[in-house]
Amino acid sequence: MNKRTLLKSMTALSAGALLAGAMLPAAAQDTVKIGLILPMTGPFASTGRQIDGAARLYMQQNGATVAGKKIELILKDDAGAPDTTKRLAQELIVNDKVTFLAGFGLTPLALATAPLATEGKVPMIVMAAGTSIITDRSPFIVRTGFTLPQTTYPIADWAAKNNIKKAVTLVSDFAPGVDAETVFKSRFTAAGGQVLAELRVPLRNPDFAPFLQRVRDASPDAVFVFVPSGVGSIFMKQFAERGLDKAGIKIIGPGDVTDDDILNDMGDVALGVVTSHHYSAAHPSAMNKAYVEAFRKMNNIRPNFMSVGGYDGMALIYKALAATKGDTNGEKLVAAMKGLSWESPRGPLTIDAQFREPVQNMYIRKVEKVGNELHNVEFETLTAVKDPTKVAK
């Protein structure tokens, strides 16, 4: 028996050694690793699912090799907690030696990680978080999603021009919500509108009922709403329950509230909601039609605006690597990203060379029934919109 045990352990040892040997070449210089940190669980899991799905779709369509380097995607779940995001980023930089950090579902998660990007000189692709100040926090941050001022001001102008005189703002109480509220108020009042009340709802476990009561009491022409992706359906449900739709109060806002992922389940209360945003699954281009179809086939859900942030984030990474011919130096990669321009499912997209922000078309859309589904149907386009707060500086 002793001999057999010895034999067994020898076999195990040699197998282990072989395995270790086999794993070594994988760690060689030919692999470029992308650390994708997303909320895959918790209240913002839909954002993670969308971006992860889009990133994998991009890799499936464009191959896993760029400029002779093999692309490896490492997905991590931060459950929406900033200190977890930061720790995961730290591990990805130190242990996995990632060339890119990507993802970042919410503003606090991106802000917490920004110092690490600077310290580690790692390009950090913000695919989702939308507060304007994020890109100021590190010269290594490049954004492929959108900023709230960018998506907010078109709807403020549209509202003022379309017979909405009095509005109440209702936003989630964190940085992007404050961004949206500030921009809406300044543009709307400058155009002659009046903001009757500014309401801020807690980000965690939001209960809109008491706030909606106050909206109703103020009886405005419209309520301007910003809630993060995924929260829109709770808002719509409580909006209908309180009978605000019957009181003739319109819903306007940046397109986060009529998120394509959940829009279809909101029901008829969502019909006629007018929003401004950079992406709709109903965007009438051949590229988008193909994108929506492929995305649905792969992930079984309808892509929303978060997904294009992820899809274009991967496109940006691929293009930057191609431009540096596979050089993984962080500074060179960020330099290569500046000013890049390409056609995205959302329309033309450029990375602003000065602010590292996306420059893109904004669409005014209205929720309508297309076939059996609710969709954000675009009816007005503003071309090449920049973040207005940055341009003002």
């Binding site: 028996m1 997303l38 895959m40 669980t41 899991a45 993670g48 699912r49 997905l75 991590k76 779940d77 907690a81 900033p82 200190d83 977890t84 930061k86 720790r87 730290q90 591990e91 930089i93 130190v94 242990n95 503003t107 606090p108 802000l111 917490a112 110092p115 690490l116 310290e119 580690g120 507060t131 926090r137 109480d173 964190f174 940085a175 807690p202 980000l203 965690r204």
Partner: protein
């Protein structure tokens, strides 16, 4: 160490446990540089669990809001470093004092009532603090988190590095120090009187133990230790966010004690290591469904009984030990 002990095999080796933990910790420093950030997390959670064990395992006070003290420690240490001074040890002392003061102030609430009311009251305190931190966004940064915390080097020598080595060694040192102090505390006459209160409050009162004063004292101490754990988190991540005060945090720490066992202090450490390692490993393997596996594991632990599991896990090792001593293993 005498007094009532839970019938747990590891409790018997508790005298040697300090040395075992010290040895394991030293080996981990040398062998696992990859895992410094995770091990830092483990050390912090372990200290937090030890603080809860002080009241739960030794004084029988249940709490669903221990994150209140942890979170207060996080914010105090972060704000102190940001606005006053970046020295880590000084920050920890301030965090401990702030949390202990809150513990003293809220001790009144846990002196009365049954376990159920205590659960509710402690939960309430944590919720109030969470809402305060959310609303005072000029001070705490609200839901965006507190940015711009810059820490000075530990002892003026060791800067907090990207690999997390300093952070881990720093947290580990504090954990071992606090464990040592906590062991002395629970073995003292004061600790004995707490266990008497835990086992039979009426009888303890009858033999002249000042029950309320003792409970208030241990609650204050426990709050202070939780504050130190929070301070460590703020300092080693140079960041503070609302999650520190979240209900999830209080619930997680109870889970850690469920896994590791209460009433012998090392349960918190063992639980923290298992919980964090499982969490880390599972969320890497399956980022979407790891919570399911954690849940399943908890159900198994509770249903099968911790002791039986430990024996089952240890049995191959005892067999190996037997082999090493030249004795034959169990017959096949």
């Amino acid at each position: 160490m005498s007094g009532p002990q839970p019938a747990f095999p590891l409790a018997r080796v508790s005298r040697r446990a300090e040395w075992i933990i010290l040895a394991v910790a030293l080996v981990s420093v040398l062998l696992l540089p990859r895992y410094y950030p995770v091990m830092n997390q483990m050390a912090i959670i372990a200290l937090f669990a030890v603080s809860l064990d002080l009241i739960l395992g030794y004084a029988g006070i249940v709490s669903l809001g221990h994150a209140a003290f942890f979170g207060l420690g996080v914010y105090t240490a972060a704000l102190f470093a940001k606005h006053v001074h970046g020295d880590p040890f000084l920050g920890l002392v301030i965090a401990a004092i702030a949390a202990a003061l809150l513990g003293l102030a809220t001790a009144v609430l846990i002196l009365r009532g049954t376990d159920l009311t205590r659960l509710m009251v402690t939960l309430g305190v944590a919720l109030i603090l969470l809402e305060l931190a959310n609303k005072l966004d000029w001070l705490t940064g609200g839901a965006d988190g507190l940015q711009g915390v810059v820490m000075a080097p530990v002892l003026g020598l060791f800067t907090f590095d990207m690999a997390g080595r300093t952070a881990y060694l720093y947290s580990l040192t504090i954990l071992l120090l606090m464990l040592f102090l906590a062991r002395r505390l629970v073995a003292s006459p004061f600790g004995m009187s707490l266990q008497a209160i835990r086992d039979n409050r009426l009888r303890a009162e009858a033999i002249g133990i000042p029950v309320n004063a003792r409970l208030a004292a241990i609650y204050t101490i426990s709050a202070g230790v939780a504050g130190i754990a929070g301070g460590l988190l703020a300092q080693t991540t140079s960041f503070a966010s609302l999650d520190a005060l979240d209900f999830q945090r209080s619930a997680d720490i109870l889970l850690v004690l469920v896994i590791g066992g209460t009433g012998y202090l090392f349960g918190g450490v063992i639980g923290a290591v298992i919980f964090t390692a499982m969490h880390h490993w599972l969320s890497a393997v399956t980022p979407q469904y790891w919570q399911f596996w954690i849940g399943l594991m908890l159900v198994v632990i509770v249903l099968a009984g911790r002791e039986r599991l430990v024996r089952a896990i240890l049995s191959p090792f005892t067999w190996l030990l037997g082999l090493a001593r030249g004795r034959s293993g169990p017959a096949k």
